[in-house]
Amino acid sequence: MVESILPLSVRSLSYSVGAVEVIRDASFAIERGSRNIVLGANGAGKSVLLRLLHGLLLPSGGQIKWARADAKFKQAMVFQRPVMLRRTARENIEFALQVAGREKNISHAARAALESVGLTHLADRPARLCSGGEQQRIALARAWALVPEVLFLDEPTASLDPTATKAIEEIIAAINNTGTTIIMTTHDIGQAKRIAHRVLFLHRGRLMEDALAGHFFTEPQSPEAAAFIKGELLW
């Protein structure tokens, strides 16, 4: 039995740009198999927090501790705007598999991943010519093909229409059902309600709440979270 990279434990995490603290003193833990939504308004620090956890940014202070040292090889991330190489959809996935050191059945695995997101017919289409929603699904297939223990998603539907958003949310649920832990940001309360087991509410760089979804939406503990749920604009 291979040990998991989870739980992830984060202690007193902070990140500053110049004199501005973008993430302030955040502490929380992420358990295996859960769907975690980092919720907050624009500029709250969601993207920065995700990049810190994924290792794309270095913390100014505090600790990010994974249960295993090789954790970075067990994670994948999908960005708000999908980054596609100038290759076909299938080759984009094959590239990720090659870089990850997979040698066997790369082509088969890439096809299977595309099938899981319902894009078999786009396998040989140049990825950049696909629509925004299709590209995001290819990005999800690419991440899924790596069989990550943890999948980070930074507002993956922010620039998509409702139909494409629904497709993406279904895929995220499917990925989670295969055992992958989800850590996803959104500013969309409806989306958070649909996906979250657990909500981490960020407000101006502060982790205001860390609660199970049922609790968070019915009994928010902070006035900021309550206002956000009611749809009031936060300053």
Partner: protein, 234 residues
Amino acid sequence: MAEISQGFTTAATLIGTANTELLSIVWLSLKVSGIAVMIASLLALPFGAWLALVRFPGRQSLIAILNGMMGLPPVVVGLLVYLALSRAGPLGSLGLLFTPAAMVAAQTLLIFPIITALTRQVIEDAWIEYREQLISLNASRGQSMMALLWDMRFTLLTAVLAGFGRAIAEVGAVMIVGGNIDGITRVMTTAISLETSKGDLALALALGIVLIGIVVIVNAIAQIVKTTAMKHHG
């Protein structure tokens, strides 16, 4: 005036009848500049990509120097290669002076900075877009470089062809290190220069027309490749 129109008529005949002397000069030009651009690209593409991705003290100065060297006068490059290859020079024992190899060396040196600087710029812009995704995939620096070079292949072809255009059109460097020896190191530009000074306008004009044709075609290819590639790959 009559002389000039006479020159054009003869030039047209030379081209139309595929004159042997004309063809051998054109062929040598294409060969020398073609090999030079291949060698320069083989070195400059990875070097430019590497420069785009690494950060080290002095990197900005190196880039500034390279950018400056894009405008290096061909005669100066010719002089440097001449000094290196002349009998007393460090590479004199190779006996390469006044051979096509020396011309290849001079043109390679001339266009290496151009292709490097353009590659560096193109790959650095692409790196901004791809950096986080490639790091997220745990791509090594080498893997990232290769992926970016391949991704920007159509834009980079433009850089390579720009190098070729500059190589085949320059006269100063090949004149100095090649010596414009008839049948051995005479290329289009040196031949044009010589024939014009001799007053033999026909061959000069014929070569001039071919040279312009080559440069125009190369640019057209670059343009077509880029636009069709953009359409097919986004």
